[in-house]
């Protein structure tokens, strides 16, 4: 099998890699690029643990091929914080104890960031539906939803909304 050469941008940096035609983006991130923050919970697009942002849209990286990244701009969970400054969503996840095992957390962080990029003031219901593609088996979602709404408030410059 000959490998494909891919040139792309990941977390703001130009990246080149070789991948096999059948390798998913998730496999490439985890096994070729050592970006293991994106998790595989199902490999079938049902759990959201592998969520990344591709050209502004959230995508299950397990459903995308590595070769499809050519020329795209990708953000993974490793690219959400700016240096050592956490994104408000990350900060609020910590403050609200919105993670227990933390395995679903990368997917939720990425999906929630994308939500707040698009909608500065989501309602609880909008947040619940936006995140309905991300499974969490530990928390019952309560604290996750509160953390996201609180992060939105923080980003709007309001204090302690939830």
């Amino acid at each position: 099998m000959s490998k494909h050469h891919v040139t792309t941008t990941i977390n703001g940096e130009p990246v080149e890699y070789l991948c096999e035609a059948q390798q998913t983006m998730l496999d490439v991130l985890r096994d070729e690029l050592n970006l293991t923050g994106s998790k595989e919970g199902c490999g079938s697009g049902d759990c959201g643990a592998c969520t990344v942002i591709v050209d502004g849209n959230i995508v299950c990286s397990c459903l995308m091929l590595g070769v499809e990244a050519e020329g795209k701009t990708i953000t993974t969970v490793e690219g959400i914080a700016e240096g050592d400054k956490l994104h408000p969503v990350q900060q609020k996840f910590l403050e609200h104890a919105a993670l227990q095992c933390g395995f679903c957390t990368p997917g939720f962080i990425v999906a929630a960031k994308a939500l707040l990029d698009e909608n500065k003031n989501p309602t609880e219901e909008e947040t619940r539906y936006w995140l309905a593609g991300n499974l969490c088996r530990c928390t019952g979602y309560d604290k996750i939803i509160r953390a996201v709404l609180d992060a939105a408030a923080l980003m709007r410059g309001e204090a302690g909304a939830v």
Partner: protein, 764 residues
């Protein structure tokens, strides 16, 4: 020492950020599948496509010859193991069965049973090699349903399984592994005294724990037999013990490293992959990584037992229960060991009933071996009993909470399974429910309200912990229980409280099996209780040492030193007059006062406090589709002392949500050939964010005097009441009693169509 006085606490009871939080929100935490080793191979597992078949032969030659394949294994690569009960996991485990479950020997017993495994230089080659393994099966008749499996003419899974607990011992093998019974009082007298009786039958389906992280491990065995296991489990010491036994090696030759664990809920209290990776590594001389996919998780691991529950209750006209009878039939999966015992014991634990008779059966069938799942056994029997309590309450026109109130077990009540309760908070949960604002919400049409209660034992057990004072006055806490939901934070908080230093100056770590003393696994809601006790004692030992050092510096007796807020003080004017010495100052001088300051404690913690809960659930039923929407949910629980309240709430909210999934959607669906039809999250539907409201967790703090801070276990009892709470709410909304889980839209829709709803009860 005791820290039961909450008002004196500075750290315990607050909500700091967890010590391992940042690495988990930036994607840096290392879970089972994140580990790589130089020269690592990829392992894959071949699984049975049959529910029950004899393995005539396995030909691995073609797979082994595929370029890139470095090892192929079957059961022949494992030593045969005699039947022997082990007690390192949650509940008893037979080593022989565990070995046979990890890799089939002679027969496959369920769809998904592992048959062989390969290790190759890439996942794709390993996958290709699986197709080249030729297994010659003789397909045998199979049995899936628990009651079918109990029939005299059912296909028998194990020729050497004779029902235990019956007299005389049966002459023929069967699928009934065990019969157990519990009695209190005299049930015949109870039925004579009863003025009202009710008898009902309920069923539940197997459900998977559904942790989002599939099982994963990397194992490296050296030429000298030294083995390192990196895996995601609920107990690195459990992994070490099981692997040593299954591979026939000394425990000292295995070092088990705890990866971060992406959920377990009991499902990672046993092993599946580690022995296979170990055998492959031994054979190939290379580290081997195996990661399950989601389909393998569903077909090959867990689930919780499905069950049949027959309940009979007898009461006086005023609602006082006088008699209760229970018959339980629990699916064990392919090997004995369903949690029918706890199912029997938990069923009536909330109530003070003079005459009780309970019988339970542990039954094998051609399904994956069940694993523990949050309060294993209790949710099943409680679904039956708590639904039946609701049916009784409505039949007698008594408020369901009042019925529970007048029958509540209290301190001094003797439970049917033996113990006499003390320091229990069950009645308080009922009274808190009666007073909860939840009840003041008005219900609309198609809406209903249900309540249910639950009990779980919680356990203590063996734990080790160390507390090291660092040169700069910070502290490191070392423990041996994987942190599955924020327990590092609780450990650091308890240590900080005892040492009198800020929480941020204590760093907790979960150590590997070579770096801390033996610790039983994370399970049974035991870690905050038992490991917390070990951590507290280690910190207390350090304080004794710190006082000794201060005494040495001041040249006075250690008895004349007090420890307060992280500083040594002379104890009263007679001790002399000295400026207080901080922990930091003492740490700086440790080299000159006797060397490093640290303590390790190993205990077998006794006196765990049981968990009690009462839940209130409001639902709305869509009469066209049969879909149930959860409108409001309040879970009230006796938590002892909430060390970190956010993580206690989190346990409650998570347990409730799993219970709602169990109630409404989750089930294993088998086709007529015994193959699992829904091994994925698309068709096995767990609750998602848009299915749920906020879940109100109400923590009642009725301290457990046997724990220094009063902690009781909190993680398991939250999953016990939801199934009945939801079913009772559905009845309230529709007048339809759903006695078979899950109460999925098609089933509820069919029930709605079959019955015209009767008018609402006057009391509702």
């Amino acid at each position: 020492m005791s820290y039961l006085d909450k008002s004196a606490l500075k750290v315990v009871g607050t909500r700091p950020v967890r010590p391992d939080g940042v690495e988990k929100v930036i994607g840096r935490a290392n879970f089972g599948a994140d580990m790589v080793m130089p020269g690592m191979l990829w392992g894959k597992v071949l699984r049975s496509p049959h529910a029950h078949a004899r393995i005539r032969s396995i030909n691995t030659a073609r797979a082994a010859a595929l370029p890139g394949v470095r090892a192929v294994i079957t059961a022949d690569d494992f030593p045969p193991i005699a039947s022997e009960e082990a007690f390192v996991g949650e509940g008893p485990m037979n080593f022989r069965d565990l070995s046979y479950n990890c890799i089939a020997r002679g027969k496959v017993l369920y769809d998904g049973h592992a048959v062989a495994a390969v290790a190759a230089t890439s996942p794709a080659i390993a996958e290709e090699a699986l197709d080249l393994i030729a297994v010659d099966y003789e397909v045998l008749p199979h049995v899936i349903d628990v009651e079918d499996a109990m029939k005299a003419d059912a296909p028998v899974l194990h020729d050497d399984l004779f029902t235990q607990g019956v007299d005389p011992k049966p002459t023929k093998p069967s699928n009934i592994a065990k019969r157990i019974g519990f009695n209190k009082g005299d049930i015949a007298t109870g039925w004579k005294e009863a003025e009202v009786t009710i008898e009902r039958r309920y069923t539940t389906q197997p459900v998977h724990q559904g942790y989002i992280e599939p099982h994963a491990c990397v194992v490296a065995v050296g030429a000298d037999g030294q083995c390192t296991i990196w895996s995601s489990s609920q107990g690195q010491f459990m992994v070490r013990a099981y692997c040593a036994k299954l591979l026939g090696v000394d425990i000292a030759n295995i070092r088990a490293m705890p990866a971060e664990i992406g959920g377990g809920f009991g499902g990672k209290t046993l092993i599946y992959l580690e022995p296979l990776a170990m055998a492959l590594s031994r054979k190939s001389g290379r580290p081997v990584k195996i990661v399950m996919n989601r389909e393998e998780v569903f077909r090959g691991t867990g689930p919780a037992a499905g069950s049949v529950i027959e309940v009979k209750l007898g009461a006086k006209k005023d609602g006082r229960l006088v008699a209760a009878e229970l018959l339980l039939k629990y699916q064990a999966g392919a090997f004995p060991g369903s949690p029918v015992g706890p199912g029997c014991m938990c069923a009536f634990a909330m109530y003070d009933i003079p005459h009780v008779s309970i019988v339970g059966y542990d039954v094998v069938s051609n399904r994956p071996k069940v694993a523990a799942y949050r309060a294993p056994g209790a949710p099943n029997s409680s679904f039956g009993v708590e639904s039946c309590m609701d049916e009784l309450a409505r039949q007698m026109n008594i408020d369901p909470l009042h019925l529970r109130e007048i029958n509540a077990a209290k301190d001094g009540t003797k439970a049917a399974h033996g113990p006499t309760w003390s320091n229990i908070g069950y009645l308080e949960t009922v009274q808190a429910a009666q007073a909860n604002a939840h009840l003041s919400h008005k219900l609309g049409s198609n809406q209903g309200r249900g309540v249910a209660s639950g009990f779980w034992f919680n356990i203590g057990g063996e734990s080790s912990a160390a507390c090291h004072i660092n040169e700069d006055g910070t502290a490191t806490v070392v423990e041996g229980c994987p942190d599955i939901g924020g327990s590092r934070a609780s450990m650091a908080m308890m240590a900080a409280e005892v040492l009198g230093i800020p929480y941020e100056r204590v760093r907790p770590i979960v150590a590997d099996t070579a770096s801390v003393g033996f610790s039983f696994l994370t399970g049974g809601s035991r870690v905050t209780f038992a490991t917390g006790m070990a951590v507290t004692q280690a910190a207390e030992k350090v304080v004794v040492e710190l006082k000794k050092r201060a005494a040495m510096i001041w040249d006075i007796s250690p008895d004349a030193v007090d420890w307060k807020d992280g500083k040594a003080y002379p104890a009263g004017p007679n001790a002399g007059s000295f400026e207080p010495l901080s922990l930091q100052e003492i740490a700086l001088k440790a080299g000159r006062t006797g060397g490093p300051i640290s303590a390790e404690v190993t205990i077998n913690a006794q006196g765990a406090g049981a968990g009690w809960a009462t839940h209130i659930c409001d639902v709305e039923v869509d009469s066209e589709t049969g879909r149930v929407k959860i409108l409001r949910y309040t879970a009230i629980q006796d938590v002892g002392r909430a060390i970190h309240p956010s993580y206690v709430e989190g346990q409650i909210q998570g347990g409730v949500t799993q219970g709602i999934g169990w109630a409404l959607n989750e089930e294993y669906i088998y086709d007529k050939d015994g193959r699992l039809e829904n091994p994925g999250f698309l068709d096995y539907r767990v609750p998602v964010a848009s299915d749920l409201p906020m879940i109100d967790a109400v923590m009642l703090e009725i301290p457990n005097p046997r724990h220094p801070f009063g902690a009781k276990g909190v993680g398991e009892v939250p999953i016990v009441p939801p199934m009945a709470a939801v079913a009772n709410a559905i009845f309230d909304a529709t007048g339809i009693r759903m006695r078979d889980l899950p109460m999925s839209p098609p089933k509820l829709r069919a029930a709605l169509d079959a019955e015209a709803p009767p008018p609402r009860l006057a009391a509702e």
